[in-house]
């Protein structure tokens, strides 16, 4: 039951993009086409879940055990950066097909604040390992959902005559605002 609550909360109620403002850069940057949006979401889901597991283990068994949790920020970002590199190398070797699909998005993920954000939130919320994994996967799902809805809207937006000064990023932000308003409708269901 509590896992369902975590999932619904992370996907809809506290959507990381629209409610917590994490991962805005890819949200605006790679949302011109639905296909790229889907690829990015896949890569984020993969890395986010993996990163949360690794950082959770490091926090529990190294940082907390040695009493140096103030090193959290430095450790986490280094771990995530090297993890992304590692994933890239392994994918290239093991699954060239998947690498083709996700490859170009992987380097961008290091500076995606959603990954580090979710890793830190897992620690702050005092989740155990399994809850953390569920939380990370559900957050990534929420990211993907928002990204894909948003990119579908933006594809239509290209065909519409908007005032010159509003073209491009400004209108995208206003659409994102309306989308966030729609997601606010989920407030209070868990």
């Amino acid at each position: 039951m509590e896992y369902i609550v975590i999932i619904i909360s992370a996907v809809f109620v506290n959507n990381i993009v629209l409610m917590k403002f994490l991962g805005i850069c890819p949200f605006i940057g790679v949302s011109n086409k639905v296909e790229t949006a889907a690829g990015m979401s896949g890569a984020v889901m993969f890395v986010m879940t993996l990163a949360t597991i690794v950082t959770y283990l490091i926090q529990t068994f190294i940082l907390d055990a040695l009493g140096i949790s103030f090193m959290q920020t430095i450790t986490f970002i280094l771990v995530i950066a090297s993890l992304v590199q590692l994933v890239e190398i392994i994918l290239k070797k093991v699954s060239p097909g998947l690498f083709q699909a996700l490859g170009i998005f992987l380097p961008l993920i290091t500076t995606n604040c959603a990954i580090l954000g979710v890793a830190i939130l897992t620690i702050q919320n005092d989740y155990n390992l399994l809850e953390g994994v569920v939380f990370a996967a559900a957050s990534a799902l929420g990211f993907g959902l928002a990204l894909i809805i948003f990119s579908s809207i933006r594809e239509q937006l290209d065909l519409i005559d908007v005032p010159k000064a509003m073209k491009g990023v400004p209108i995208a932000f206003i659409v994102a605002g309306l989308l966030a308003m729609a997601f606010m409708g989920f407030t209070g269901i868990v």
């Binding site: 805005i24 850069c25 604040c113 010159k164 400004p170 932000f173």
Partner: protein, 195 residues
């Protein structure tokens, strides 16, 4: 003259938020009031200036292949300094900004300036660049926070000038997107007029 131009380019011409669209997560996430926006902006300015100085100092010793991880470590060290300092001296602001303080590490603006500017320029120019860009970032955050605070709670920097609540929507998540959209629009309008 050149130095002055270098300093002021971040304010309008190359404003990191309104023109370059860098580091948008904290821009949206922390600007529920003008004071929160200003605090976040100044914290980022400190990290940006210090990491620009250090990167510029040691740019000749870092092998090209590992420069990005090296920059990240430098940035993360300064973020930790800011984090601990704010927790000790301004705990209310620290709580309000929350998760976004450690996330300065992954602010693309900071890494972007290290990579694009400080790794190629002497210390003094890098310092000026970092400080100017940081102030431009703070300016944008304070503006956005100010507008949201005026519309959403009818106050500015905590001074209330209407009774009641104002339009709560602007303090909540959708307001952030909408106000930023309109501010960018305004900026593009002004730029197309001046050009």
């Amino acid at each position: 003259m050149n130095q002055i131009k270098n300093f002021t380019k971040g304010f309008v011409q190359e404003n990191p938020v309104f023109v370059l669209f860098l580091g948008l997560c904290p821009v949206l996430g922390t600007t529920t009031s003008a004071i929160n926006g200003l605090g976040m902006g100044l914290a980022t300015t400190f990290v940006l200036t210090m990491s620009n100085i250090v990167v510029s100092l040691i740019k000749n010793f870092i092998p090209d292949k590992v420069r990005i991880p090296a920059f990240i470590v430098i940035i993360a060290s300064f973020v930790t300094i800011v984090e601990l300092t704010m927790q000790a001296f301004v705990p209310t602001l620290f709580d309000a900004l929350g998760l976004f303080i450690p996330l300065i590490v992954v602010n693309c603006l900071v890494l972007g300036r290290s990579e694009a500017f400080a790794s190629k320029n002497p210390i003094w120019t890098s310092l000026v660049d970092g400080f100017g860009m940081g102030l431009g970032f703070s300016l944008a955050l304070t503006m956005l926070g100010g507008v949201r605070e005026i519309l959403g709670s009818g106050s500015i920097f905590g001074f209330k000038f209407i009774h009641g609540d104002g339009m709560i929507l602007f303090v909540l998540a959708p307001g952030a997107f909408i106000v930023l959209g309109y501010l960018i629009m305004l900026m593009q309008k002004l730029k197309s007029k001046s050009a």
